[in-house]
């Protein structure tokens, strides 16, 4: 062993002499430095202002930005070129034979060159990191950087990325080296290398790249710069790369040593056994690495997490997506929470509401254990989920947008006269998407559970069935006399979706499909909303019916324009809901809408002004009060506030006051923002935002409310001031002439 190593070291030393003047190490360093330096100049030249968003680490972010071109193209390219160059040094002029007539182990000959390649890889990566830190350091003083930015060097993260990049390069280096040694003409190894490299990006879009594809492993470095979700040091693609590099190095070495395939692996026949079992061993190892993993269900349901933020939070709620019912509430202590429940929770996308400040969507079901890490800074929220629904919570994020020919046809009214062609296209596209639904994997090789995938597949069906329905509607309108016969393929899609699937009831598209299906034989010429409700009431009594009717009535209550309309909805249909709890919920909603109806007493609102004095809204009695509910972190609010201010200025001499009512927790932030706004609007901050939002049913902001001079509600949900209807209502309330 010792002898092998000293022999290898001698060979390595000689290789270094031999590569003199080839510039292999220099080009490695240049390639590594290229993207940081280019990025540096790009940053200096660009005028983009950086928005103060989520705080980030300056150096880590810089390296994350520059590693993409490196990992995708520059690095693999230089590996391919250098592998070929190292082999060519000896392919030219009989170098291999010269080495073989020296006291050198073949092992040393083969591996000394590979080690030179690894050193050059290492230099490239060191150069990338080194130049990044250097460029970032210089850049720090020349560009504007948000003050929340962290300037420390995150040693663990960066060293992890460094090691991962190096490990990811092993396989492609070993493979290119193997090819370059095997094929004496340099052109072939280069061609194969570049072709395979280009094929990576091309094939990725068709989802045809296996995880072990040597030229794709480095891409994962750029795709998943932060590394493993579950705390592994390496991603599974890097592990498979490492394993396969050992395989290809061993195979390549024996091939080289014995000069041809037959002598290396087949003859004498005892070698077959060795080479087959060796290959088999790697197939088995590879299989275990590549087999997708899934989490097992637990005994109870656990939801826990941590919030990183400058503010402290107290209460959290887990909310149902359709009924907006609170499933569970929990205390947040030191910005950490843990919820344990045995309640049955069907699979769906739920909301975690943190102190009425912001919602976080979470896909979960009973017997899941989920950890969520939330960052909340400068009114931006980022979340990271781990636990049993790891893959599910990442699922949508990864789906790249597909251009749909079917939806294009519908938009352009094409193929309306050729139903069979349309059906074929629809089926083809559906089939592709349907299959793709099952292809998602996380960076750590976790796949979503069966229940989730089934649901996703159903959603694909629904999407295409909705296309189908709108097609059929169009066709009916354009060719009323022609009958359309659905093809067998289309019926196959239809058969996959039942009309009483409770698990899908929270999904808008499913409701759309359902309503269409329920009403399609009802040709009465009445309000389509009422038609839908009536058809739902005709269904057989079931939990499904209850839920469906509930969500439909709730939407209609919200959209109703008068108390009369709301009363009719409730008295005519609410008794069809047999679930008492749902019914009660609906009635409560109804009562809130009624209470907020025109002419009802407006509940008092307690606020503080800019000087910190307590102010009650009732103070403004005698005048109309227009309220803009906003917060410093709310983007759409910022868009509306100039329009609101414009109104305030225009009507400042009328009997009306304009109030800017902020729901901000952070008084300082609010103060700074409010101070800079127009003086024509009176700025106040809510003392108890939670009470206010339940009193006035505020589920989202911006929200505009008009209270009349007697302290009664005039309109509890005004159009936005950017909409001209806002002004029309104001003028009407003030008894002013209509605008022309």
């Amino acid at each position: 062993m010792k002898q092998y190593i000293s022999n290898l070291l001698i060979a390595l030393k000689a290789e270094h002499l031999k590569k003199k003047g080839t510039g292999i190490y220099y080009t490695s360093i240049i390639i590594g430095a290229l993207s940081p330096i280019l990025y540096f100049f790009f940053q200096i030249a660009s005028d983009d202002k950086v928005e103060a968003g989520m705080p980030y680490n300056y150096y880590t972010t810089f390296i994350h930005d520059v590693i993409t071109p490196f990992a995708y193209f520059l690095f693999p390219m230089i590996i391919i070129i250098h592998a070929s160059k190292m082999a060519q040094l000896d392919h030219k002029n009989g170098g291999w034979q010269l080495m073989e007539t020296q006291p050198l182990q073949k092992f040393s000959i083969y591996f000394s060159k590979y080690i030179v390649l690894l050193i050059s890889n290492l230099l490239s990566i060191i150069s990338l990191f080194g130049f990044s830190i250097l460029c970032a350091f210089v850049l720090k003083n020349t560009i504007e950087i948000p003050e929340t930015t962290n300037f420390s060097i995150e040693f663990y993260n960066l060293s992890n990325l460094f090691v991962r990049t190096f490990v990811a390069s092993l396989f492609v280096t070993a493979l290119q080296y193997f090819l370059s040694v095997l094929i004496s003409s340099f052109i072939w190894s280069l061609l194969i290398g570049f072709f395979s490299l280009l094929a990576t990006s091309f094939l990725t879009s068709f989802n045809l790249i296996p995880d072990w594809y040597p030229y794709g492993i480095l891409n994962k470095i750029s795709d998943y710069k932060e590394g493993s979700d579950i705390g592994n040091y390496l991603l599974y693609t890097e592990v498979i790369g490492l394993v396969l590099s050992i395989f290809i190095l061993t195979a390549g070495f024996y091939w080289y040593k014995n000069k041809n395939f037959i002598r290396a692996f087949v003859k004498p026949y005892s070698k077959i056994i060795i080479s087959t079992s060796f290959t088999l061993l790697f197939v088995v190892i590879g299989y275990f690495i590549l087999i997708p993993k899934q989490y097992e269900p637990l005994e109870t349901t656990i939801l826990c997490g941590k919030i990183e933020s400058l503010s402290k939070f107290k209460n959290g709620y887990l909310i149902h997506p359709t009924i907006s019912d609170t499933i569970a509430s929990f205390k947040i202590i030191n910005n950490e929470f843990k919820l344990k429940t045995d309640k049955p929770i069907p699979l769906d996308k739920y909301k975690i509401i943190v102190d009425n400040s912001f919602p976080v969507g979470v896909i979960m079901a009973s017997k899941d254990s989920i950890y969520v890490s939330i960052k909340y800074f400068n009114n931006e929220v980022t979340t990271k989920f781990t636990g049993t629904r790891l893959a599910e919570n990442q699922y949508k994020l990864d789906k790249n947008f597909d251009w749909s020919y079917v939806s294009y046809c519908l938009e352009q009214n094409e193929l309306i006269d050729k139903p069979n062609d349309f059906f074929d296209e629809l089926y083809k596209e559906w089939n592709k998407r349907y299959k793709k639904a099952n292809s998602f994997k996380t960076r750590d090789n976790f796949i979503p559970k069966k229940d989730f995938i089934n649901r996703e597949m159903k959603l694909v069906c629904i999407e295409y069935l909705n296309y189908l329905n709108s097609y059929l509607d169009k066709r009916k309108a354009m060719f009323p006399k022609d009958e359309t016969i659905l093809s067998k393929n289309i019926l196959e899609i239809k058969s996959k979706i039942k009309l009483d699937d409770e698990s899908l009831i929270s999904n808008e598209s499913y409701l759309e499909y359902l309503k269409h299906e329920l009403c399609k034989n009802d040709s009465r010429d009445i309000d389509s909303k009422l038609k839908e409700i009536e058809n739902i009431t005709k269904l057989k009594s079931s939990n499904f019916k209850n839920r469906l009717l509930y969500s439909n009535l709730k939407t209609n209550l919200e959209e109703a324009s008068s108390s009369l309309e709301r009363n009719e909805l409730i008295s005519n249909y609410s008794n069809f809901i047999t679930d008492e709890k749902l019914k009660e919920n609906l009635i409560n909603q109804f009562k809130i809408y009624e209470r907020l109806g025109k002419g009802n007493e407006a509940r008092t609102i307690q606020t503080k002004d800019l000087n910190g004095n307590l102010v009650e809204i009732s103070k403004f009695k005698g005048k109309f009060v227009a309220i803009d509910v906003w917060a410093t972190w709310c983007g759409p609010c910022k868009y509306e506030s100039p329009y609101f201010e414009k109104m305030a200025i225009k009507y400042k001499n009328e009997n009306i006051v304009f109030l800017g009512l902020s729901s901000d927790q952070d008084a300082k932030k609010w103060y700074l923002d409010a101070k800079n706004k127009s003086k024509s609007v009176t700025h106040l901050r809510l003392e108890n935002p939670e009470l206010f939002s339940s009193d006035y049913n505020v589920n989202s902001i911006p929200r505009f409310i008009l209270i009349d001079s007697e302290g009664k509600i005039y309109n509890s949900n005004m159009p936005r001031p950017s909409d001209s209807a806002f002004e029309i209502i104001i003028r009407k309330a003030l008894g002013l002439k209509e605008l022309e």
Binding site: I10, K18, N93, Q97, E100, T101, Q102, P103, K106
Partner: protein, 301 residues
């Protein structure tokens, strides 16, 4: 007698149908300069590659230092120097670095590099890149690389190929010198007998993969003691009669050509001097049957 290289019935083929080497048994005694002769394509280079282990021999019929070669690779190269694919050089490196490369691999002190470059007369060019060398310089550099570690056995494949006459003479001198002084056994291949005849102690002749002749140089010279020559001169008839007294088999070929036998090739200069003194007007003296002719006959068949 100790044979430093020995093959017993060595067969070799790349593909099934075509045998490159057929039943080749060669014996190279220690301390000899063994000339391995044969026309291009006879299998010389293949034999070289087999003897140096570049091509693995599955039949285990090659012995170096009286042991099977397979078991000794690669350590055997500590005492074996080889110039196989001539000239195997790194053209992007200087002459000095090429030798240094070997010095590193063989762990020879770097001071030896200048010595060996001096030996092949390349000291003045040692900083130049090998790609700028002439063919002869490349050849000499390759020899320097083979000689560097003072091997006990030296394989040289066509070492004088492409050299000018002076160069050939110098290489020959060099090889004889290291053979005499250091006792290095040299196995040298060539396709021209005349190139190496003067320095070899032993000769093996190969043609189409089979060994046609093997023996010492002395045996061979003895075999060609008489020498048939043809003289072109004026007044041939008279001279034929005059010469018949002294020499055997004097025949008048044509009007001005006589063939006759001398006892040895080495007699030709004296013979020529003598008859010129006697007044002969000679246009040409040609050897009709000698070592070269015999070699040609042997390998052409």
């Amino acid at each position: 007698m100790k044979y430093i290289i020995q093959t017993s019935n060595l067969d070799f083929q790349y593909s099934k149908n075509k045998k490159i080497l057929n039943n080749l048994s060669i014996n190279v005694p220690k301390g000899s300069i063994y000339g391995f002769l044969g026309p291009n394509g006879a299998g010389k280079s293949t034999t070289m590659r087999l003897l140096t282990g570049i091509i693995p021999d599955d039949s285990n019929s090659i012995f170096l230092f009286e042991k099977p070669i397979e078991s000794q690779i690669p350590n055997i190269f500590e005492k074996v120097g080889a110039l196989v694919e001539s000239p195997a050089l790194y053209l992007h490196l200087s002459g000095y670095d090429n030798v240094k490369y070997i010095a590193l691999l063989r762990q020879v002190p770097l001071s030896k590099i200048d010595e060996v470059l001096e030996l092949v007369d390349l000291t003045a060019y040692k900083r130049q890149k090998a790609k700028q060398y002439s063919l002869g310089m490349k050849q000499r550099l390759a020899i320097a690389m083979a000689l560097l570690s003072e091997p006990e056995l030296l394989f040289l494949d066509e070492p004088v190929n492409g050299l000018d006459p002076n160069g050939i003479v110098e290489i020959r001198k060099l090889l004889v010198k290291i053979n005499k002084e250091k006792g290095v056994t040299i196995f040298v291949s060539s396709h021209l007998l005349s190139e190496i005849e003067k320095m070899c102690t032993h000769i093996g002749i190969i043609s189409k993969g089979t060994l046609k002749y093997e023996g010492t140089m002395e045996d061979l010279s003895r075999k060609f003691e008489t020498c048939k020559i043809q003289i072109t001169l004026d007044d041939a008839e008279n001279w034929k009669e005059k010469l018949s007294f002294k020499y055997a088999n004097v025949v008048l070929d044509e009007q001005n050509k006589i063939t006759m036998n001398l006892s040895h090739t080495s007699e030709i200069p004296d013979f020529a001097k003598q008859i010129i003194q006697e007044g002969a007007r000679i246009y040409e003296i040609k050897i009709l049957e000698g070592l070269e002719e015999w070699f040609m006959n042997l390998t052409e068949k």
